[in-house]
Amino acid sequence: MAEKPKVAFYWCGSCGGCEEAVVDLAEDLLTVAEAVDIVLWPVAMDFKKKDVEALPDGAIVASFINGTVRLSEHEEWVKLLRKKSQLVFAFGSCAHLGGIPGLANLSNRQEIFQWYYHEGPTVHNPSGAVPTPDFKANGHAFELPEFWDTARALDQVIEVDYYIPGCPPPPHIVKDAVMKLLQGNLPPKGSVLAGDRALCHECPLNETKPEKLLIKDVKRPHEVVPKPDECLLAQGLLCLGPVTRGGCGALCINAHMPCTGCFGPMDHIQDFGAKGLGALASILDYTEEDDLDRILEKIPDPVGTFYKYSLPASLIRRKNMGGKSS
């Protein structure tokens, strides 16, 4: 019997939702597990770094890597997996675009440590201890990963062959990617494994989207119970459907929540947040600056609204903290 293709799963800075997404394959997971030889999956199986290091280069057919690259440990691992793998799949929004943890790029290491180890209201740290890469305790030397100023998308660290979008990727998207891999009919390298049309095209409410969309008020999801049969944008909810890659099956819309953009931009868009901001700002139905100032108060966090999943992959990647550019 021919040897089964080796695959690896790895997580960087992530919440674990992408691991859930693999388990969400349900019965299909058994088919996949049958067809492949899993050589690494930290959440579920006990393999060590040395096991991966012992493999010949290119021995892994595909590595599925989720999470944002935030620590030196993440970088070491993904570089190792790149060396050992024929194909690397960025799995989920964090690996694809930097993800929600990428919003930490509005800050830097110093600010983050200051809050989490000193200033936060629930912090009790009388000795003022902060994580350091090397420390000794009871005569033993310990090593911790380095924490970086900036979170990165996977392709800002290693070459990535394919992207599986979503936060987390829905089961049909994961299954489709795995089947394409096993059947050897993957699209050109660099592809995002979903459609390349806006979510609006597959939205069940698309029919109700007015020909000319203009809104007088912006509503936040907690403020309204949306009508189930009218375009959410027309109802004043900031839905990023017009700029977001479709393919998810309009999961959030079906749950009466606006799209927040986890599938990221379509191929022709360079900067998701800037595009989304441009698209949605233009439908605010006011022409006077005072009126606009007033309605824009309803968008208190533009970065969190438009770059919820993609700040590290945006054109400028992070907040300008002054001084330390390199």
Binding site: W148, V160, Q270
Partner: protein, 153 residues
């Protein structure tokens, strides 16, 4: 620092602002040579992506100029520019980029003098602010070596 000359990308609408810039040229007005004007058909063509693209590629400021309110050749393009501009300003605050680096002006075809005045003013403002440095290399302050490539952008 004294050698620093700001670079401004101008996004000028065909019908008003660009025509005004032409007028300024024909009238031999002298104004700061720091602006590189891109002609677009309408200020409504302005997309915040253009601003970040310009910043990433070395611009210190972006000047968007279109027809006065009510005068847009396409009825409402300049209002769309205004709405994007207003929201973009809030975004710039969060990203640590000074608001003055992006400026929106209404300049009619006859206002060659205003082209001169706005460009001179903005150049002076940017001189004061200094160069915009986009922080590219994401590393710990003391970490050595450089980050990997990156296919984005």
């Amino acid at each position: 620092m004294s050698a620093y000359e700001p670079k401004i990308v101008g996004i000028f609408c065909n019908w008003c602002a660009y025509t005004a810039a032409d007028l300024a040229g024909i009238s031999r007005m002298k104004y700061a040579p720091n602006v590189r004007i891109v002609r677009v058909m309408c200020s409504g063509r302005f997309d915040p992506q253009m601003v970040f693209w310009a910043f990433k590629h070395g611009a210190d400021g972006v000047l968007i100029a279109g027809c006065h309110p009510g005068d847009c050749h396409y009825q409402e393009g300049n209002y769309k520019a205004l709405r994007r501009f207003k929201l973009l300003q809030k975004l710039l605050d969060q990203l640590g980029i000074e608001r003055e680096r992006v400026r929106l002006e209404w300049i009619s075809a006859s206002e060659g003098e205003k082209v001169k005045q706005v460009i001179d003013e903005m150049t002076e403002t940017l001189r004061r602010l200094g160069p915009l440095r986009i922080q590219e290399t994401p590393q710990a302050p003391e970490a050595v070596g450089t980050a990997g490539g990156g296919h984005h952008g």
